[in-house]
């Protein structure tokens, strides 16, 4: 597994009264060459029309970034392809593309292309960096203005952040609390104080904080779609998930040793497994009756383990929630919520899967979802990798 992790997340609030956004964010990871491409596009206007423009733009920009084609050529193709707005007689969507590649030297090479979005911000720790942007002029046939693409190549060491946002952020509060809106300087200062107050703030939290602040400047009634994306280059946060007892009893000690040796957060999922760990680590196991729901049994507490849950039911609900990308804040306070919170706060998840069969689960009268542990872990891993872009690994014991 990599010793460097690129944490990417975004937050978005639609224009007041709209049910669909005109800002579109796309993210893909190409694991073969450690490449990540994130695209933020803002379509002209708002609602469905803007969403169509922005989706088209973002999707094209995204696909073209994975091809070896020259960036300016890609940009020209995008601009010529966009449909024309009936009222304004123009075709228009802004975009920012960040193409990130992990270098062997624990750094990330970033290729940044900006077109008419507010300028991206780069932070090294809480210090905001300035850099020279190469301007590329594009003259299109019949265009209503000359386009200028900003192109920059930067190297991001560990601890740096890239913040990209739509004009809904920089123009927040315009004409209300602030004459010209929040402006780039306002966003930069706010981001700096956020990072200073919490140096390890995740991309998710930072993007949320910026978007919420912009929304409050707009007095909770957004005048435009507000979207913010954050990339954070850092050391990976590791989590170990142990589920199921080892196939033979003699391996119990080996399992506990692996748990003890692991550096990072530890989850034990499974009643019997928890009892084995508790017995061998000589730490009492206490069921926390304050945290359960009708769907999943309560969590337990044990010294040295961050989270102890029941096994199959909890894992199956976790897999479903991850696949559906359910927001944590809408969940009831139970083991599934706690499990997902830990997953979201991790970058690399290692599963140790016990292969012993639980006879009590072979009863035909209990729900089908208590299936085969290995299938369940497969679902979990796929969801974590495909939906949340986490790195996962697995071993059987």
């Amino acid at each position: 597994m990599n010793d460097l992790f690129i944490d990417v997340d975004y937050a978005q609030i639609y224009k007041d009264g709209q049910k669909i956004g005109g800002d579109v964010f796309l993210l893909s990871r190409n694991p073969e060459n450690n490449q990540i491409v994130c695209t933020l596009s803002d379509g002209l206007g708002s609602g469905v029309k803007a969403n169509v423009l922005a989706s088209l733009t973002a999707r094209m920009a995204h696909k073209l970034s994975f091809s070896p084609m020259d960036l300016t050529h890609s940009a020209r193709i995008i601009m010529n392809t966009l449909p024309v707005c009936k009222e304004r007689k123009i075709s228009y969507a802004t975009f920012t593309i960040a193409d990130l590649r992990v270098l062997p030297s624990d750094q990330v090479a970033m290729n940044l292309v900006e077109y008419d979005n507010p300028g991206a911000l780069v932070f090294q720790g809480s210090r905001s960096l300035q850099w020279d942007v190469e301007h590329i002029d594009l003259q299109r046939d019949g265009a209503f203005k000359k386009e200028v693409l900003g192109h920059s190549m930067l190297t991001l060491p560990i601890g740096s952040r890239l913040v990209i946002f739509s004009d809904g952020v920089t123009q927040a509060g315009m004409g209300k609390s602030l004459p010209l809106g929040w402006r780039l300087d306002g966003v930069r200062e706010f981001t700096r104080t956020q990072i200073e107050a919490n140096p390890d703030i995740s991309s998710h939290d930072l993007a949320q904080a910026i978007v919420c602040r912009a929304h409050s400047l707009d007095r909770l009634s957004a005048k435009d779609d507000i979207t913010c994306m954050v990339v954070y280059v850092r050391r990976p946060r590791r989590t170990l998930v142990v589920t199921g007892p080892p196939f033979i009893k003699e391996h119990d000690g080996q399992l506990v040793q692996k748990i003890k040796d692991f550096e990072g957060r530890k989850i034990v999922s499974g009643g019997t497994t928890a009892q084995i760990v508790s017995r061998l680590m000589q730490k009492p196991l206490k069921v926390d009756m304050s945290c359960w729901s009708a769907q999943v049994p309560p969590c337990s507490m044990m010294e040295g383990i961050d989270l102890v849950t029941e096994g199959m039911l909890t894992l199956s609900k976790v897999a479903t929630a991850l696949e559906q990308k359910k927001p944590v804040r809408s969940m009831t306070n139970d083991a599934v919520k706690k499990f997902i919170q830990v997953m979201q706060e991790s970058d690399q998840v290692h599963f140790i899967v016990g292969t012993k069969i639980n006879e009590a689960h072979q009863d035909p009268s209990i729900p089908v979802e208590i299936g085969i542990r290995r299938n369940l872990i497969g679902r979990l891993r796929r969801a974590l990798e495909d939906v949340y872009l986490k790195e996962t690994s697995q071993e059987y014991i």
């Binding site: 009643g271 019997t272 928890a274 009892q275 196991l285 206490k286 069921v287 926390d288 009756m289 359960w292 009708a294 999943v296 049994p297 309560p298 337990s300 102890v308 029941e310 096994g311 199959m312 039911l313 639980n358 006879e359 009590a360 689960h361 009863d363 009268s365 209990i366 729900p367 208590i370």
Partner: protein, 88 residues
């Protein structure tokens, strides 16, 4: 007269028990008589192990009251068992 010792009760929250009625038992605060509830010390336990004894004629959910394990426990039965145990 010395203070009466509380009855120690463990409700199994293992998978097999939870899906076969154990979840209902965890609502003990709602269905147990407060006087009975006051005389018990109730806690959850990861697995009592009853479900793994192939010969056992009992079925989940399992509850341990004092030293004795009961199977097929539902809310009504738990009320009765605990009322008896606290009276004794």
């Amino acid at each position: 007269m010395g203070k009466k010792e509380k009855v120690h009760v463990q409700i199994c929250v293992g998978t097999a028990c939870f899906v076969q009625g154990g979840a209902d038992l965890l609502l003990y605060n709602e269905f147990l008589d407060p006087a009975v509830l006051g005389g018990c010390e109730i806690e959850g336990v990861s697995c009592i192990g009853g479900c793994k004894e192939a010969q056992s004629k009992d079925r989940p959910p399992y509850v341990r009251i004092g030293e004795k394990v009961y199977g097929n426990v539902n809310q009504e039965m738990l009320c009765k068992l605990l009322a008896e145990a606290t009276r004794a």
